[in-house]
C-alpha cells in the first residue's frame, strides 16, 4: 500500500479519501456559520409580517420596506389624508402609504454611517502614518528602553475598554471632546497605534538595512531613503496593518456607546436602537446591519491574503 502511494504522493501527503472527508466537514462547517449572515440578508428584504412568521419563511415576496423604514421616519395618518396627497414620488413613498403612514423625513442612519466612515478612515490613516514612522524609528535606531516601552504600550490594550473609558470620559468632558468626531478619531488612533507599531516594526525589520545604506551612499538623505526605499518595500505590511486598524475602528462599540450620543455617534451603537411601531423593526435592523457589514465583507474578500498574513504574523511575533 504505502509503497504504491509513495510514487504518487510524498509520505506526508494525505490520501484522496482523507482529503475528501476533510473537505466535506470543513465546507459543512463554513456553510453552517454562514446561516446567520444569510438570515440577516433575507430578513432585510422581508416585510415585517413575513419576518416574524412561524415557521420562519424562506420563500417570500421580497420588498424594500425594510430599507425604506431604515432610511426614513414615518408618521401614521388617516386614510382620508393620504388619499388627499399628490401621487407618491417613489417606491418608498408607495410602500409607506400602503401601511397608512407618511414619510416625515430622513432617519439618522446615513449620518451615523457617515460618522463611522469618517472616524474609521480618519483614525486608520493617523494610526498607520504615526505607526509607520515610529516603527521605523524603533527598528533602525537604538531607542533607550525601546522594548519596555513597546511592551507597555501594547499592554494597555489588555485593559477592558470600560475601564479606559472612565478617565477618557472625564478628560473629554473637560476639553470639549465628548461626542465629537475628532475625539473618537484620537481615541481610536491611540488604541490602534500600539498594534500598528508592533506589527509594522516586524515588517520593517524584515527589510534589509543594506537597501537604505546603498541609497544613502548614492547621495540620498535618510529621509529620502525612508520615503523612496523603505516605504515602497513596506506596502504589504502597511496594507495589512491598515486593514486591522480599519476593522477595529469600524466595529468598535464600547467606547462609541459611552462617549458618543448625538452628532458623532457611529453606526454600531445606533443600529440596535432602530425601532418601529410596537417593538423592534427587524427588517429595518437587518437592512441597516446588511449595509454596515457589506464594506467589511468586500474588504475581507479582496484583501484576504494581507489579512491572513497580518493575523498569523502578529500572533506569532507576540
Amino acid at each position: 500500500m504505502s509503497s504504491t502511494n509513495t510514487t504518487a504522493h510524498s509520505v506526508v501527503e494525505p490520501t484522496p479519501t482523507v482529503k475528501r472527508i476533510a473537505g466535506a466537514i470543513v465546507i459543512l462547517y463554513a456553510l453552517v456559520t454562514l446561516v446567520p449572515l444569510a438570515w440577516i440578508f433575507l430578513t432585510s428584504i422581508k416585510s415585517p409580517p413575513d419576518s416574524i412568521s412561524y415557521p420562519p419563511k424562506i420563500v417570500f415576496t421580497p420588498t424594500l420596506e425594510g430599507f425604506c423604514n431604515l432610511f426614513t421616519t414615518r408618521t401614521r395618518q388617516t386614510p382620508d389624508y393620504i388619499q388627499s396627497l399628490p401621487a407618491p414620488t417613489g417606491a418608498c413613498d408607495e410602500i409607506t402609504r400602503s401601511r397608512n403612514m407618511v414619510i416625515a423625513g430622513p432617519s439618522n442612519y446615513w449620518p451615523r454611517f457617515g460618522n463611522s466612515l469618517v472616524i474609521a478612515f480618519g483614525s486608520t490613516f493617523l494610526a498607520v502614518s504615526l505607526g509607520t514612522l515610529a516603527a521605523y524609528g524603533f527598528s533602525r535606531f537604538r531607542v533607550p528602553l525601546a522594548d519596555d516601552l513597546l511592551f507597555f504600550i501594547l499592554s494597555t490594550r489588555m485593559m477592558p475598554p470600560i475601564a479606559v473609558a472612565i478617565p477618557i470620559y472625564l478628560m473629554y468632558r473637560q476639553f470639549g471632546l465628548s461626542d465629537t468626531a475628532l475625539g473618537m478619531i484620537l481615541l481610536y488612533t491611540a488604541v490602534n497605534v500600539s498594534l500598528a507599531v508592533w506589527l509594522l516594526k516586524g515588517f520593517i525589520d524584515e527589510i534589509p538595512r543594506e537597501y537604505e545604506e546603498a541609497a544613502m551612499i548614492d547621495g540620498y538623505t535618510r529621509l529620502q531613503a525612508f520615503w523612496k526605499v523603505v516605504l515602497p518595500q513596506a506596502t504589504t505590511g502597511i496594507a495589512a496593518t491598515a486593514i486591522f486598524c480599519l476593522i477595529f475602528a469600524w466595529n468598535e462599540y464600547a467606547f462609541a456607546v459611552l462617549l458618543t450620543s448625538g452628532s458623532a455617534q457611529t453606526a454600531p451603537p445606533f443600529i440596535p436602537t432602530i425601532i418601529g411601531e410596537g417593538g423592534q423593526d427587524w427588517p429595518a435592523v437587518a437592512a441597516g446591519t446588511t449595509i454596515f457589514l457589506v464594506p467589511i465583507l468586500v474588504f475581507t474578500i479582496i484583501l484576504r491574503k494581507q489579512l491572513l498574513r497580518g493575523i498569523t504574523f502578529g500572533a506569532v511575533r507576540k
Partner: protein, 308 residues
C-alpha cells in the same frame, strides 16, 4: 567597507538631520499621543481610585479616602460573582473555540481542493462587529419566531416556544457562549493553522520510516509541536474574553437577573449608572492588574513550553 561608512555618515550629518534627530522626530508624535490618551488617563484613574469623586457631581469636594475603595471592591460579593461569571465564560468559550478551531485547522491542513477559498469563508464571522451582529442574534434567539429555536426544534422535536435562550437563567450564558464561539473560532483556527504549517515535513517522514501509526504521529508530533501556537491563541482569546462587553450588553444586558453579568458590565453599571467614579476606578485597576499578572504568568509558562 569602513572607508565607505565614515564619509556617508558625515555626509548625512551635513546634508540633513542627524539620525538621532530623525529617530526622535519619528517616534515623538506616537509617544505624545499615547501619553495624552493612554498614560495620562491611566494615571488619572489611579488618582481617582483613592478618592470619593463622582462624575455626575463635578462640583462636589473631592476627598481622599485612602484604600477604602479597594477594600470595598474586594469585599463586595456582587463583584466576586461577576468575576466567577466572567471566569465561566472565559473557560467555556476557550475550550470550545480551541477544540473546534484546532480540529478545523487540522482538516484544512489536509489541503483538499479549494481549502484556501473555504478558509476565507470561515473567517467572515470574526471580521464583523460583535455589537451589530450580536444585536441580530437577539432576533435569531426569539422563542417563537427565531431561526435558532426553529432549527433546534426541527432536529430535536422540542417545541420552539418552550425555551427562551436569552430569558432563561440556565440557557442565557450558553446563548452568549454560542455566539462568541461562532464568531471567534476562526481566529483560533488561523493561529493553529500557522502552527501546523510550521511543522517541517521531514519529521513526519522520519516517523513514517519508523512505522509510527497516524494516531501516534498526531499525539507525539502534531499536538506537541503545535502547542505553543495553541497556547498563544488561548492567551489572546483569554484576554479578549476577560474584557467581553459588546455581545453581552446587546444579547442580555447582563440578565436575566444578573446571571450573565460579567466584570465589564458590572464596571459599566458602577461607573456610568451609579456614577461611583472613584470606586469603579479602583475596580478597573484591580481588573487590569489581574489580567496583566495572569497574562505574565501564562507567558512564562508558554516560554517554557517553547523551549522544550
Amino acid at each position: 567597507m569602513l572607508a565607505h561608512a565614515t564619509p556617508t555618515t558625515i555626509a548625512v550629518r551635513v546634508r540633513g538631520l542627524s539620525d538621532r534627530a530623525i529617530a526622535w522626530l519619528f517616534i515623538a508624535p506616537t509617544i505624545a499621543l499615547l501619553l495624552a490618551i493612554n498614560i495620562f488617563p491611566l494615571i488619572w484613574a489611579v488618582y481617582l481610585s483613592f478618592t470619593n469623586f463622582r462624575a455626575n457631581r463635578p462640583n462636589a469636594e473631592v476627598e481622599g479616602v485612602g484604600l477604602r475603595n479597594y477594600q470595598r471592591v474586594l469585599n463586595d460579593p456582587d463583584i466576586w460573582i461577576a468575576m466567577q461569571t466572567t471566569a465561566h465564560f472565559v473557560f467555556w468559550t476557550i475550550l470550545l473555540q480551541t477544540v473546534i478551531g484546532f480540529a478545523l485547522a487540522y482538516l484544512i491542513d489536509r489541503k483538499f481542493r479549494g481549502h484556501a477559498f473555504w478558509t476565507t469563508v470561515i473567517l467572515i464571522p470574526m471580521m464583523l462587529s460583535p455589537a451589530v451582529v450580536g444585536n441580530f442574534w437577539r432576533f435569531l434567539y426569539q422563542p417563537q419566531i427565531g431561526l435558532f429555536n426553529y432549527i433546534v426544534s426541527f432536529f430535536t422535536g422540542i417545541p420552539p416556544s418552550s425555551f427562551e435562550m436569552l430569558g432563561s437563567v440556565i440557557l442565557a450564558p450558553w446563548a452568549i457562549i454560542i455566539v462568541d464561539t461562532w464568531m471567534w473560532t476562526p481566529y483560533v483556527m488561523l493561529i493553529c493553522l500557522a502552527g501546523l504549517r510550521s511543522i517541517p515535513d521531514y519529521i513526519y517522514e522520519a516517523a513514517e520510516v519508523d512505522r509510527a501509526s497516524a494516531w501516534r504521529q498526531f499525539w507525539s508530533i502534531t499536538v506537541p509541536m503545535a502547542l505553543p501556537f495553541i497556547m498563544l491563541a488561548v492567551l489572546f482569546r483569554g484576554i479578549e474574553n476577560f474584557k467581553m462587553f459588546d455581545m453581552v450588553m446587546l444579547l442580555t444586558g447582563g440578565g436575566p437577573g444578573s446571571t450573565t453579568e460579567v466584570a465589564s458590565i458590572t464596571l459599566k453599571r458602577e461607573a456610568f449608572e451609579s456614577w461611583l467614579t472613584g470606586r469603579s476606578s479602583a475596580f478597573a485597576i484591580i481588573l487590569f492588574v489581574a489580567v496583566f499578572g495572569l497574562a505574565n504568568i501564562y507567558v512564562k509558562a508558554l516560554n517554557r513550553v517553547k523551549q522544550r
